[in-house]
Amino acid sequence: MTRALQDDAEFMMRDTTSHPPAYAPGYKTSVLRSPKNALISLQNSLSEVTAPVFGAAELGPLDNDLIMNAAKEGLPVGERIVVHGHVQDQLGRPVRNALVEVWQCNASGRYRHKKDQYIGALDPNFGGCGRMLTDENGYYAYRTIRPGPYPWRNRVNDWRPAHIHYAISGDGWVQRLITQMYFEGDPLIATCPIVRTIPSEEQVRGLIALQDVAAFVPLDSRAYRFDIVLRGRRATLFENRIQAEPGANP
């Protein structure tokens, strides 16, 4: 049995071993972009337990359909896939109405971005971004074209495994998370310097979407399953200190 949690309950402390350190020299760009001082740890206040609320009316009907949302004179090139999963917190509770934003390169490994100069061809019918809100069960789904791997400037022959970027906004500002989803069976995962910033193999496995045969769309698309875990809330066992009266015990 689980205890009901208040909507202003504090979040559990972040387990920093679940994440890459700021300084990870194998990923060269992190060297000059990593703070050297220790982070100052804050107990939650209203600033941390609240977060923006998004509404379905802000999204368009094709925002979660990357196959169609930039198609002009035909369909995009590449392998059609569905990606779906649940957003839950560390206690396994669904995170409802979470904003899930995704972006990726096309099947050639090229981003529709004015700064991407890779020789891989742009696809006139593919944009590479989408967004959606999770439902009552914390569930989300979108369809897209499977992205290609691509080379990048780190060492001269480093390649990114095929991946889709995710940004997730949950119920509290401290749940904000940005990450990347990889695909089961991709041999580039083992050597990618960005994947390898993560110190834990278990945590790397958590970023690898598994092929989900049960969700295949017959004669149309394969499917991948990717579940996301955001920070959980602590039960407020004694008293509420978040918006307590002045003079309450610290």
């Binding site: 760009t29 209203l46 941390e48 923006p52 700064k115 998370l177 940005i178 960005i194 959980g232 610290p250």
Partner: protein, 206 residues
């Protein structure tokens, strides 16, 4: 005992974060409704301000590919979120209090157009000085960086702010305070962020 799942691991936003979070900045128009750097609408109550600055790396070079999100209370010091139950304060329906901005690809300058927030109650009833909560992501940043921006013209309340006072090194607190400027009647707060090196900005584990 409750068994806990592990939080999904963070990964860098990468150099093309704009395509997902600010596609117009990436050079194409795809969504009907875009999230942007203008938080205040015509009807929003409060003092109109611009927040601007540059994010620098450890060599002093501007980041030209950074994305920053802002979360703030309204002019009365209330967050537009159901968990904020501070008595006597109301939500401003024309102000969500959230936005995102990209630094300029040439200069590295970022801007937010918003209103100055009011003071929000802190833990155990100690008021917090007005502040913006900022979240910074970019290529080379493996996990989003959290910081707060306070206001230079609020010296008295800043001195009592429970979060600023947690920063043991008084000399570092100034990295969290934006400087107010009046540019021909337009109020601008300058807030540069230094990821590393001399005057490294204070970042929080929230």
């Amino acid at each position: 005992m409750t068994s806990l799942l592990r939080e999904t691991a963070s990964q860098t936003a990468g150099p093309y974060v704009h395509i997902g979070l600010a596609p117009q900045a990436a050079g194409f128009d795809i969504f009907e409704h875009n999230f942007g750097s203008v938080l205040a609408t015509r009807d929003t109550r409060g003092e109109r301000i611009r927040v601007e600055g540059i994010v620098y790396d450890g060599s002093g070079t501007p980041l030209r590919d950074v994305l920053i999100e802002c979360w703030q209370a309204n002019a009365e010091g209330k967050y537009n979120h159901p968990a904020d139950r501070q008595p006597g304060k109301s939500v401003d329906p024309s102000f969500r209090g959230w936005g995102r901005t990209c630094s300029d690809f040439e200069t590295g300058l970022y801007t937010f157009d918003t209103i100055k927030p009011g003071s929000v109650i802190g833990r155990t009833g100690r008021p917090m000085a007005p502040h913006l909560n900022l979240w910074i992501v970019a290529r080379g940043i493996n996990i989003g960086l959290n910081t707060r921006m306070y206001f230079s013209d609020e010296a008295e309340v800043n001195a009592k702010d429970p979060v600023l006072n947690l920063v043991e090194w008084e000399v570092r607190r100034k990295t969290l305070i934006a400087q107010r400027q009046d540019r021909d009647g337009r109020i601008v707060y300058r807030f540069d962020i230094r990821l590393q090196g001399e005057d490294e900005t204070v970042f929080f584990d929230v």
